[in-house]
Symmetry: C2
Subunit: 320 residues, 2 copies
């Protein structure tokens, strides 16, 4: 089953979110409008808003309330991608030219700032202070994760703990907050929204590990860019850390630089693929997926819960 089919019953509300996304980033300045819309329309799965909606289904669900959590979360995610692209000096994202490629890095930095500011403006519509606290803590962790990612670039001495802490900050907490905020905005009791947070956290970890695996196993067409891009940029992910347990392969991996010729990086990628590192990484991803499914069991029975289970399984097992 395709991902979008799993929650097609939410389509009306997903359209509301989509329209609100466009409306929220509307700007007088034509440069800002173009750069922001370009980012928005480059696509993305909008998985965070979907988690918000599903979290909301455990309480007093009202799309006009819950969109004030769903739209900002997607925008905060987008803004962080825009800043990431500046750091990575990336030309492509989801197969589309980045803002840097179409304009420049300065425009990208400020467009990120702008999208983020618009997100915050909408968040003020939520009245529950707990929602603001959850979100602001998530944003702090996200920004700490961003700087750690720079610090850890081409750092071949980092360990698994560094990696897990980084993906927690960069990915898992935002998905956790999505699940929880939908619930909080819908007046769900504490025990339930905390479990939704834990579910989102585990799913987020599994999601990012899968993403990091796919960067090695995916085709150029699937990824929208050549495989091994993370490694080439110095992002040391779980498969790389496992591959480096082989001393000889470790030496080769440590020689990776951004301007390494393609045949040479391809050879290293194919050695990583044969090293067993992918299989080990899949086990870890599955472990987080199992934890996510176990937390789900503690939630009240309803349609949203079944959908969350389907999505979790899809995300952890997806081939692309």
């Amino acid at each position: 089953m395709k991902l979008k089919m799993m929650y097609s019953y939410l389509n009306t509300d997903i359209n509301v979110i989509e329209q609100s996304l466009e409306k929220t980033i509307e700007a007088e300045s034509s440069l800002l409008r173009q750069a922001s819309l370009h980012t928005l329309r480059a696509g993305g799965k909008r998985i965070r808003p979907v988690f918000v909606l599903l979290g909301g289904k455990f309480g007093d669900y009202d799309i006009n309330v819950i969109k004030n959590a769903a739209v900002p979360l997607e925008l905060i995610h987008m803004a962080s991608l825009v800043h990431d692209d500046v750091i990575d000096d990336a030309e492509l994202r989801r197969g589309q030219p980045t803002i840097k490629a179409k304009w420049d890095n300065r425009i990208a930095m400020y467009t990120g700032d702008y999208i983020f500011a618009r997100a915050l403006e909408l968040v003020t519509e939520i009245k529950n202070p707990l929602a603001h606290q959850i979100l602001s803590k998530t944003i702090v962790e996200l920004s700490v994760g961003e700087i750690e990612q720079i610090k850890d670039k081409y750092n071949f001495n980092q360990n698994l703990r560094d990696y897990f802490r980084r993906i927690k900050r960069k990915t898992a907490l935002l998905i956790a907050a999505s699940c929880q905020l939908g619930a909080v905005a819908s007046g769900v009791e504490e025990k339930v929204h905390k479990n939704l947070f834990r579910f989102g956290y585990y799913v987020g970890m599994s999601y990012q590990i899968t993403d990091d695996i796919l960067d090695f196993t995916g085709t150029e067409k699937e990824l929208g860019k050549p495989a091994g891009g993370d490694l080439l940029q110095g992002n040391i992910t779980l498969p790389v850390l496992y591959a480096m347990e082989d001393r000889e392969l470790r030496m080769e991996i440590q020689s990776v630089r951004e301007d390494m010729p393609r045949p040479q990086i391809d050879r290293i990628i194919s050695r990583i693929l044969q090293s067993g590192a992918i299989e080990k990484s899949i086990l870890v991803s599955d472990h987080y997926l199992d934890k996510a499914l176990a937390v789900l069991e503690e939630l009240p029975q309803n349609r949203a819960k079944r959908t969350l289970r389907d999505i979790a399984k899809y995300i952890g097992k997806r081939k692309f």
Copy 2:
């Protein structure tokens, strides 16, 4: 009278703010801690927190409440300066090396994101939703102003309206929000906090125009960098717009590029100084100052009001 003497009776509370600033940006990551503290300790007048405190004096003043507005406002200002330095590729700020100079532009971008995130975290301590709305709108305008500043760089066809709109967004609204938020956090009635906003707006306009004048009239020692830096970077300010009313001088100004040799730019600066543009700009700054003082008259009589009057006059008339 020196600026700091005007509000020396607030010193205990200003120290609370200073300590809270350091505590708020504390980070586990040593890189983030260093870069953030470096920015914080580079100084600055902390004029925004002072406005917050003074605004608070019109209501039920409690430093432990009001600091949750004062600290974030200074941090948001700092974060925006850090991002501005990325754009300007600046080496010096207040005579100190910028984050870009000590580390690099990528670290600067994320340090700005981090300081901003910490500011938002603290803002959640304020319970009044109006405070969040004021602040988030200010942040949106600030980010729009930032991108407009890029768009308008080296754009010699802009007019006075473009300039005023830009400094409103980049400077005046944040000072206006400072005056207002202190009052809102202290439960001041609407009529009063709206007047404080208007006062701050006019003072902010006068402040920025004075700043733009000083960039031409100040010495290198006073400015911490050579005079005319704004023009050299393509920032078209009020004195430049007035100087361009002379057709011959306009041609010369339009030839300015970042890598222009120093003797040549010095010659243009000295022609601008002789053109009458500075005097015209001072008149505009004075006009905003007068408006600020007029708004003050409508506020209840108290010590804070007298201090605001002193600060406004100082800011509008300062020689550096």
